[in-house]
Amino acid sequence: MIEQLPAIQLLLTLLAAPICSMLRNGDQSWRLATIVSWASVAIAGALLHQVWGGGNDISYHMGGWPPPWGIEVVVDELTAIVLLLVTLFGALVMTALRESLSTIMRHQRQSLYYTSFLLCMASLIGITLTGDAFNVFVFLEISSLATYTLIARGRDRRALTAAFRYLIMGTIGATFILIAIGFMYMLTGTLNMADLAERLPEHRDSRVLHASFAFFTVGIALKIALFPLHYWLPNAYTYAPKATTAFLAATATKVSLYVMIRFVFDVYGVEFSFQQMQLGTLLVPLSLAGILIASLTAIFQSDAKRLLAWSSVAQLGYMSLGVGLLNLNGLTASITHMFNHAMMKAGLFLALATMIYRVQSSQLTSLAGIGRTMPLTTGAFTVLGIGLIGVPFTAGFISKWYLITGALDKGWLPVAVLLIISSLMAIVYIGKMIDVMYFKPAPEEFSNVREAPMSMLIPCWIFALLTLYFGLDTRITAGLAGRVAANLLGAS
């Protein structure tokens, strides 16, 4: 039983999806989906427990065929933490989803929506688990298709254009990745990642490999929404249905980042990626530009969701910057921030969704004074916002600390200074929202909104409390990330 865990991890959510689609009753399918997602959290926890400490990676052979002939599923510490991220935050959002959906969708459609949600979750789990390059593409496509659907169901008609734009960009990105995989396959004759890693170094001077790397980088950067390929993200996040944004912000881009780390470090190899192809010199300036420009744009937004979306672009910059630094602290920061930012941003979007649930608008003007009418939700929002800024004793502080240390290790003082400046910008845009929520008088029509229902409030507070918890106890986040980073860097 225990050795079947990796397969069960994927199958739980993937099989719940078709069953969910056959239940025509929204409440029933919500119950099923919620139970299944929490069960996946338990399995992710069990997997993390198994691989804890490093060195006991799990390899599971699909169909009983040994790799590289069959498809291999690999679980190591990095995989396990990303699995935990996807399932835990997915489950929390799923719990809150019912109330959020009930206002915007007819009962019958809801079960289909849960199905898409489950499919998206399952495919993200699939991407994380797999040890086969082509299999990544297959699951990447499931997750993209599910995501387009989720976004397109937003209430504003602009959700449709946002989804369409994402579909075009996403498909180009995925096809680029397919070309990259094809080139790699052409050189080595294998698709298994571990096998590729062994065989690629002898081709390091081949132009085919160079082109493969270029296509992969562009393709995955489209998926991660790395600056300047972030074009699709703000609209998609702004117009997606409320709670969905929380899930997407937490997981989709993070899993793409995970794929990038996997390929860049494990498959192509550190030496090839950074010394020969100079990925670092590309990533660092672009990330910095992304952080600053996106933060600046966020400050001038009047729509709360759009503001948070731009902030996401900036935060993704932190993560890619950590990868670009290519030292222990930088990479640790990236992986830690992947987890922490997923948690905080999902929490923020969820808290925001809870407010929108009551006031029906995400404009800052209609959120004015909501701190008095919905004190609990706004409280959670504030805690998460402080975390995002990176105040000590919150999770955000930990990742920023490592990132700045990483920059200083390199002797890049200006980078560290810019990071501090960007944190100040975060204070401005988060502060602007909190200021409006607490200190502006509420508009007439929203003066007597009630506090949100429990099923939305509790997940919000769990996110907020986790933010505080991971600010103090860093064994699961930074501790593990440090080991993983050392491993990735030493692998070359």
């Binding site: 915007i104 969708m105 007819r106 082509f134 593409f137 297959v138 496509e141 298709l145 387009y148 659907t149 397109a152 209430r155 504003d156 008609r157 602009r158 449709l160 254009t161 989804a163 369409f164 579909l167 075009i168 498909t171 180009i172 096809t175 397919l178 070309i179 094809g182 396959y185 052409m186 698709l191 009047s302 729509d303 029906q360 608008s361 404009q363 003007t365 209609s366």
Partner: protein, 131 residues
């Protein structure tokens, strides 16, 4: 060299034509056509690399010993399915866009969106879903 690489060059030209349609066309459905062409050319590329001169289709039969590589075929079968799935979803979204906006020209849509945003920022209106 010319004959050895000719196939790949053709594929590259096709791919780029597809990509060009995607990026330059303003009509959403035509964009999807471009996407289709782009993907199909990648498929041709995969299949080209699996070809062995003098080989036959990879179906076991007595007396035949040289086969083309079956693995690219399998990958492309999967990729074709992915392609048609994306096409279907893309068309579904463009149909919905047409119903919501009355047009599928990208320029007209962004114009309408721009007006929409201006209205939103001046008076914070609530756009309710018709569904």
């Amino acid at each position: 060299m010319f004959t050895g690489l000719f196939n790949y060059w053709i594929v590259v030209i096709l791919m780029m034509a597809g990509l060009y349609i995607v990026m330059s066309s303003g009509h959403l459905v035509k964009k999807i056509i471009g996407l289709n062409i782009f993907q199909t050319s990648v498929f041709i590329f995969f299949i080209s690399m699996g070809k062995v001169s003098g080989g036959t289709a990879p179906i076991l039969k007595d007396g035949i010993s040289v086969f083309s590589n079956p693995l690219p075929h399998v990958l492309i079968l999967t990729a074709i399915v992915v392609g048609v799935a994306t096409t279907a979803l893309g068309l579904a979204i463009s149909v919905r866009i047409y119903e919501a906006y009355g047009t599928v020209e990208e320029d007209e849509i962004s114009e309408m969106d721009k007006e929409n945003r201006q209205r939103e920022t001046s008076v914070s209106t609530v756009v309710l879903d018709k569904q």
